[in-house]
């Protein structure tokens, strides 16, 4: 097996955030190492060549799921995808996040991959990104100059890039309890039953008022450079009663609104078709009914 790393690769295991900031500031070419399930593959395939790995797994306080008094919760960046999947608290309040975690990778990958890693890797198809953006999650960023909060929706800037500055670390996300009568769902599409990087994935959060959609967020993955809100599609249904016809229209608008590319996993045209299907099915899931075609 050929290692594409230089034999001079350096490594550190900071035990405080301060130590981590110092190393990251000093060393251009340093990369944060958490679960390694994306990082190691990228290094081995020659996509990146860091000169220093900063293993942040020994920094305390970043690996917890905390329930807030008002019903929301915080998830630390070092919480593994497997822990997200298994968390009773998350399943109780945000089952679509549980579903997304379940669909990510394999049993082994979920035992190592972290929430923070999945988000900071900033792949347009990152499975945890879509539901978290739909839930209005806030990214908690820490750095040598202090803490800042960024809407997760604004966190991703391009494939592989986020708003994080060189010495900053994503500490976690916080999600507020959504309004009453909110329902969410997540769906992922790939050729196999599992193990695939999504051709398209999507999440929907709908706040209902009787049969009317009061508010809704539709987040699409793998059809734009970053996870995208299908805002035109959302506008189409906001304030209206949910009917087959309206959902069909919303799905069509979402399919037109997204900007997929053609790549090894699918053509742009196919991705648009799938967006159409997933959006319809997501509304069906949210309402607990099968949508007619």
């Amino acid at each position: 097996m050929q290692l594409k790393t230089s034999m001079e690769l350096q490594y550190s295991e900071p035990t405080t955030l301060g130590e981590a900031f110092t190393t990251l500031s000093k060393t251009e070419g340093a990369k944060i190492f958490a679960g390694g399930t994306d990082l190691m593959v990228s290094i081995r395939e020659g996509k990146i060549a860091p000169n220093h790995l900063v293993n942040i797994k020994r920094i305390p306080g970043l690996d917890r799921v905390e329930v807030h008094k008002k019903g929301g919760l915080s998830i630390g960046a070092l919480v593994t995808v497997g822990e997200v999947e298994a968390s009773v608290a998350i399943r109780k309040s945000f089952p679509m996040l549980t579903d997304a975690a379940h669909e990510l990778g394999s049993f082994q990958v979920r035992n190592r991959a972290t929430l923070g890693g999945n988000l900071c890797n900033s792949s347009p198809s990152a499975d945890l990104a879509q539901p978290l953006v739909a839930l209005g999650a806030i990214a908690k960023i820490v750095g040598p100059r202090g803490r800042r909060l960024v809407k997760l929706e604004d966190f991703f800037t391009a494939p592989g890039r986020t708003v994080l500055r060189r010495s900053e670390i994503l500490a976690g996300v916080k999600i507020s309890k959504p309004p009453r009568n909110s329902h969410g769902a997540f769906l992922k599409h790939g050729p196999r039953q599992c193990m695939d990087i999504a051709t398209v994935n999507a999440a929907v959060l709908v706040e209902m008022n009787g049969r009317t959609c009061k508010q809704c967020k539709i987040v699409l993955g793998a059809v734009a450079p970053v996870p995208m809100r299908a805002k035109k599609a959302e506008a189409e249904i906001r304030g209206k009663p949910i009917t087959d016809e309206i959902v069909r229209s919303v799905a069509e608008i979402a399919a037109k609104e997204c900007v997929p590319i053609s790549d090894v996993r699918g053509s742009a045209e196919y991705r648009r078709d799938i967006v159409n299907v997933l959006v319809r099915r997501l509304f069906g899931e949210v309402l607990g009914i099968k949508m007619a075609w």
Binding site: E45, Q193, C194, V264, V277
Partner: protein, 767 residues
């Protein structure tokens, strides 16, 4: 169905004996190539071509040679040999040109893997790109760029007819009856073109080799190769050195072969290096990307089938033209083409046939032996066609097949020989029953069936020894390779049955060409039959020698003796003696009994031109459901019925069926190799070349049919390759029933299927 042989009652054969290698494997103690440790070893790394077709103008290795820790750097000129069983067209390392992306151009041996990896990057190669040919039908056009200008100078097998100054490296023809007459007499004639994709073996164990060249010039190769003696011969032919200067040692186990780990793969580059390291062994293990890009692939193919039928569904004439894309070098392409053509009409009583096969070079990576050996491709054409005809005539697909299927005594529609041990109809019927063929299915759900027959490699030979030690335990000495199919267990069962000695006292060796006698190969589903017979004969020979001793000791005739449970006894039970006692009776200070056995079928003709000593039959039915909106397929169940002659070990046969079915589903639904416009593979990894996982695997009904073969060991024939041949076509036929979409190409990925579904909705046809 007719049975020509009484089923012999057996104590071991036919029983679900646990595999003799299973315990080692489940405890992590089984040894594969990369587990072997060598003193003073060097690590090799190969530099590969970035171009699909290019002249090599210059190679400068000087910088690489200067890297500390580098011991040898070689290019094609350092080992100017060409190898290849069918056509000797493949240089050990590219010499004057490269013919596919990933072709080996140079290699480095160094003290550490990372040093070798760094050094190959310092080798400078100047290429002059040439136009590349990336489609088999383009390659046969008159003005196509020539991939092998010197084709006419290459030595080749007798059955191969090269077409000089073209890209057609072999062509074959099978003819019976009068094809034109057949079409004239038909009520309907149908013709269509089908495309079959390339694919990968995806053995979980990557390829590798360790080579050491001693100071006397003897080359020792440790390699998991499915035909050690054939490899020895290929290298002897390529390098012009005698057999006894070449030693191939198999590690005890191979992590999957499926035909890929045969012929010359990593061995040539490794030999080239080892010739320049002063006797130090060189080890190369390919990484997974290299395995995808530069080991071996499956032949993509185009099949044009024209079939004439009577309105009652009787097939009168079939004309098939099959074009196999063999990639940059012939490898097994010609013989893959032969087998594909031989089964090119299907297992049907067709009186007038013409099958034309072409093995064609392109600038794709090398295609070669992959389980099924040309049949998945030809089957895709004729078995899709049968369904299309049945549909047009309003006849049920099962009925159409049963009506035309060969039976005991039928004439082979391509070779013209008389078929015996034919379990075809039983396979079709039982698969249909198991899938509940006539049960109505809801919309978007359908069942499809496909069937086939396959020859083995004939005539080819196997020899074995059965060694009885002084203590009465037994070693079966064989060059059959345990690729995972369970051959070691099968041979132990056969030896145990023939000798009357319990399995626990029988061990089976691994191949080492210095010691284990000739075996043609562990391929073509031939091992149980050929090596099984050789082992049985060797056991008989050993028994004869034992009986000679015991007859004297008991003062009876040898005919009165038997061995049961390891005890030699007179048949009426009056006298008994343990095996070791019998031997010590004569040789107190110890000696070994060596039974020798050989099996080489007496058939006229040469390998691939003769009729087959046995044919395997199989039918598979697939029940699947299509999501019309995404094109995604869910397979509910597969019923696979296979005629194996006799199941020596039913659990092992089921294992082969289940594994083959899943591989076949992969070919039919998930697995697609994507090339860019310059011939570079875009998905050389498990992420984007998707093989089925445990979740994708449906329920499988494995049905064992036994049409005894009177020359097979205890009636057995073979199984390995048949089990993935019909699956992709059964999938295609089921998709038609479920959606009305008739696919002419594979795989049925969601995107491809959805496109066809939409086309059909919009235009009424999915073409």
């Amino acid at each position: 169905m007719t049975v020509t042989l009484e089923k012999e009652t057996c104590t071991t054969v036919g029983k679900r004996v646990p595999r003799i290698d299973a315990l080692e494997k489940v405890t992590g103690r089984a040894i594969y190539l990369d587990d072997l440790k060598f003193s003073d070893v060097l690590y090799g790394k190969i530099l590969r071509s970035p171009h699909a077709h290019a002249k090599i103008r210059k190679i400068d290795t000087s910088k690489a040679k200067q890297v500390p820790g580098v011991v040898a750097v070689v290019t094609g000129r350092d080992a100017p040999f060409r190898g290849g069983e069918a056509i000797r067209d493949q240089p050990f390392l590219a010499i004057d040109k490269v013919r596919h992306v990933g072709e080996a151009v140079a290699a480095v041996a160094a003290e550490r893997k990372d040093i070798a990896a760094r050094a190959i990057k310092l080798i400078e190669v100047e290429y002059e790109p040439l136009p590349a040919v990336l489609d088999v039908m383009d390659a046969i056009k008159p003005n196509a760029p020539l991939i092998h200008e010197e084709l006419h100078t290459y030595p080749h097998m007798a059955i191969v007819t090269v077409s000089p100054h073209t890209n057609i490296c072999a062509k074959f023809e099978f003819k019976q009856g009068d094809i034109e007459k057949g079409f004239r007499e038909s009520d309907f004639v149908f013709e269509d073109t089908f495309r079959f994709p390339t694919g990968h073996h995806c053995q979980i164990e990557p390829f590798g080799a360790v080579v050491q060249v001693s100071l006397t010039g003897k080359i020792t190769i440790w390699v998991a190769n499915d035909a050690p003696h054939r490899l020895r011969k290929d290298l002897s032919d390529a390098m012009g050195i005698p057999f006894n200067k070449l030693r191939i040692i198999s590690p005890p186990y191979m992590g999957g072969g499926f035909g890929g780990k045969g012929g010359l793969k990593v061995e040539p580059a490794c030999i080239a290096l080892a010739m320049h390291t002063g006797g130090r062994p060189v080890k190369i293990i390919l990484d997974r990307q290299e395995v995808f890009m530069a080991s071996l692939t499956k032949h993509a193919a185009v099949g044009i089938v024209k079939t004439g039928v009577k309105k009652d569904g009787t097939i009168l004439a079939t004309h098939a033209k099959l074009y196999y894309d063999t990639g940059a070098y012939a490898e097994k392409g010609p013989t893959v083409t032969v087998h594909g053509c031989e089964s090119g009409v299907g297992p049907y009583k067709v009186p007038n046939t013409l099958v034309e096969g072409y093995t064609v070079y392109t600038n794709h990576p090398v295609a070669g032996a992959l389980r099924g050996y040309g049949l998945p491709q030809s089957s895709w054409a004729h078995e899709s066609m049968i369904d299309m005809i049945a549909d047009k005539l309003g006849i049920d697909q099962i009925e159409m097949r049963l009506k035309n299927a060969v039976e005991e005594g039928s004439i082979n529609p391509t070779r013209g020989d008389i078929l015996t041990s034919v379990g075809m109809k039983e396979c079709i019927q039982r698969a249909a029953d198991a899938i509940e063929w006539n049960k109505p299915r809801p919309p978007n759900r359908g069942v499809g069936i496909a069937c086939e027959y396959k020859a083995t490699k004939t005539p080819s030979g196997s020899s074995a020894f059965v060694k009885i030690e002084q203590d009465g335990t037994v070693s079966v000495i064989t060059s059959a390779v345990e690729v995972g199919q369970g051959i070691k267990t099968i041979l132990a069962q056969i030896a145990s049955e023939e000798l009357g000695i319990p399995m626990e006292r029988i061990a089976v060796t691994s191949p080492d060409t210095d010691y284990t006698p000739w075996d043609a190969s562990t391929t073509a589903s031939r091992a149980t039959f050929h090596m099984g017979n050789a082992v049985r004969n060797a056991a008989k020979d050993a028994k004869t020698q034992i009986f000679a001793l015991a007859a004297k000791a008991f003062e009876v005739n040898t005919d009165d003796l038997e061995i049961s449970n390891g005890i030699v006894q007179v048949k009426n039970g009056s006298k008994k003696m343990g095996l070791s006692e019998v031997m010590k009776g004569k040789w107190k200070a110890g000696l070994t009994i060596l039974g020798r056995g050989t099996y080489y079928p007496e058939i006229e003709g040469t390998m691939f031109s003769a009729r087959s000593i046995f044919y395997m039959y199989g039918a598979q039915a697939v029940d699947l459901e299509v999501d019309r909106h995404t094109g995604k397929i869910k397979v509910h169940k597969v019923a696979a019925a296979h005629d194996v002659g006799r199941a020596i070990n039913p659990t092992a046969v089921e294992g082969q069926i289940e594994g083959g079915v899943i591989m076949g589903l992969g070919t039919g639904i998930f697995e697609e190799v994507l090339y860019d416009e310059k011939g570079k593979m875009m998905n050389p990894n498990f992420r984007d070349y998707r093989i089925p996982t445990a979740v994708d695997a449906p329920k499988i009904d494995s049905i064992i049919v036994e049409a005894f073969h009177d020359e097979g060991p205890f009636g057995a024939k073979g199984i390995g390759e048949m089990t993935l041949v019909s699956t992709p076509t059964a999938v295609g036929n089921a998709i038609y029933k479920a959606t009305g979409v008739r696919l002419k190409e594979l795989p049925a990925t969601p995107e491809r299927l959805l496109r066809h579904i939409k086309q059909k909705q919009n235009h009424g046809t999915s073409e």
